[in-house]
Amino acid sequence: MVKAVINSIPVEVPENTSILDAAKTVGVNIPILCKHPDLHASAACGICVVKMKGSQKMPRACCTPIEEGMDIVTHDPEIVSVRKTVLNLILSNHPNSCLTCGRNTQCELQTALADFGIREEPYDKLLCSAPLDSTTGTIVLDPPKCIKCGRCVTVCQEMQNVWALSFLERGIETRISPAGDISLGDSPCVRCGQCSAHCPTGAIVEKDDTEKVWAALQNPAKHCVVQIAPAVRVTLGEHFGFEPGVNLSKKIYTLLRRMGFERVFDTNFGADLTIMEEAAEFVQRFVHGKSVLPLITTCCPSWVDFMEKMHPDMIEHFSSSKSPHEMLGVLAKTYYAEKQGLSPADIEVVSVMPCTAKKFEIHRSREMSASGFQDVDTSVTTRELSRMIRQAGIDFANLPDGECDPPLGDYSGAGTLFGTTGGVMEAALRTAAFMITKEKLPRVEFENVRGLKGVRETSVTVAGKEVRIAVAHGLANVEYVIEKIRKAKKDGAPLPYHFVEVMACPGGCIGGGGQPYGVTDELRAKRARGLYSDDKNLPRRCSYENPYIQQLYEDYLGEPLSKKAHELLHTTYKPRPMYQR
């Protein structure tokens, strides 16, 4: 431990704690625009300067470890003046388009300028001229708004190992861009949106599709149905004064009905269905030796995109089951449409997702139009839904509880777990164990697949056989798992795993690229707890127990992996070039 003094307050922290973090422990907030709790310090922005007694220098608090006996001043008129100068310099490269910016009122730079009372611009403007890039159809890159903090580049390169974004040129010419100034749509970008979730300004934001949703809701010819993802129910409340992790499913059902949707479905139902298909696939491979092991989960569209671009040799390991959101979409336009006597052409399926990549998934291949029409018409993120709530003048916090609609609404505890890392694995194991043994598990929790460790390797025993599993989240963590599989295959060694779950975003969908800003591991843990308690409180905790799932198979699909199930609920993968140009 190191003892020091910050603003005359004694502080004791472990060695190698930065001054920035040490100050937080005694209630001192040093302003910062570049350092993010998920990422290493880069000393890029320069507003975290502090003074040290006995030194002429002004070190940056984010990247200076606190040392024994240090006497630090974090705020005095001179320091504040330096910070103002730095902010003014940043402002001189920043367009004043706050009122029409995607981050208006939620921008870290805007907040800093407001806090420091910057009222005029002493320096001439010099703006980056690189054009707006919306070619991914999921996120929008607006280079002039970039303050070169480097968060997105670190996220894209180190956290996600995608390397779509890089810093090109240097000095005043510095810009974030894919290699060679091509568009993001032509780059390796997997559309996870983690750059947008970490950007302090509006330089990278989600593509806004709210107008499309309003237009559909206003169209009398359209029968609008909606689905919400597992992870949205425990995060939306953050925008409306709720504690992170509070499960607001029932308020959200009421909300969506008031917004004008004719039917309110739940992606958790789709998750139960994905589990039925995926667990059946696993049993086929694990018990009956049909096709190769390990089986790798494919609910995450960024992970699918990543694998197709970077690891196409893994395609044979991929589960062919579509994601829950796509399964629900296609059933809305087939099963539900037939039950209601509606034409799928008249049904508009909207999904509310924690995810930017879902905007891409809805048209990623022709299998996403298995109903004959695009199965999910529009996908909006949690952040977009928040804006829609305010536009609609709905007092979300005080809404009464409501219910979702049959036959695509009710879900089991397993379905809700899909929103967190480890959740798909746990949900699948519950049903796979039943499919193998035909017996109910005495205990449905698989605690060792839970948590936020980047890669979790463990094994469980099902019907007397060991099932070796791995759970990875954050795409950089996937390399370790893939390499291990690849090496074992090459050497003819026993497989390291039978079943692998991957989610692109750290924490899984609860930390998705379209979720409320300000995510940290602490917040991820709270959001995940919300889903685990939803699971715990539900009467049915295994997908196969969901009566609507049972009815769906009886009335419509036959059994998991049936011909009809394959037509509607499964997809294919193909290698794709990392760079289109």
């Binding site: 390169q157 390397w163 779509a164 974004l165 890089s166 810093f167 090109l168 040129e169 240097r170 894919p178 290699a179 060679g180 990392m578 760079y579």
Partner: protein, 164 residues
């Protein structure tokens, strides 16, 4: 040599030849890029793709390095490379007005080539002959104590049909 039409196997052979001696050595990317530029006069994208594969590094890393250093070019430069020294002595003796005049005559900015690919204009730091300031070079030929009004005459030496 049009790199876009070169057979991929030829490209791979060249990349292998350049990369192999630097195998596993730290900081090798910059040395490899130097040799590529020496061979091709710029760093073609097709070559960068192969270098990325050969070194198992992301393409984005290669472009970060190429664009960070002024030396590397992403486009093939024009036939005659006009370099204006902007070192301190040349700067003080009027190099900026040479750059300006060259820009007017050629219709390009430093770092660009003329449309006919006959000239490439660049600004360089000290050429090591401050006594001759301001200095510019065209290819290997050095022009000293240059005044802006001499620029058209110098360029004329390298225009189509000029007797050199």
């Amino acid at each position: 040599m049009d790199i876009e039409k070169t057979d991929i196997e030829d490209i791979r052979r060249n990349v292998e030849e350049i990369c192999a001696p630097w195998e596993g050595r730290p900081g090798n990317l910059i040395m490899i890029l130097h040799q590529i530029q020496n061979r091709y006069s710029y760093v073609p994208r097709r070559i960068s793709f192969e270098v990325a594969k050969r070194l198992s590094i992301p393409l984005a890393r290669i472009y970060e390095v190429i664009t960070f250093y002024n030396y590397f070019k992403l486009e093939p430069p024009g036939k005659n490379i006009v370099s204006v020294c902007m070192g301190t002595a040349c700067y003080l003796k009027g190099a900026p007005s040479l750059v300006e005049r060259l820009g007017q005559e050629l219709g390009i900015k430093p770092g660009e080539s003329t449309r006919d690919k006959n000239f490439y204009l660049q600004v360089v730091r000290c050429l090591g002959c401050c006594g001759l300031a301001p200095v510019l070079t065209v290819g290997q030929k050095v022009y000293s104590n240059v005044r802006p009004e001499q620029v058209p005459g110098i360029l004329a030496e390298y225009r189509q049909g000029a007797v050199v």
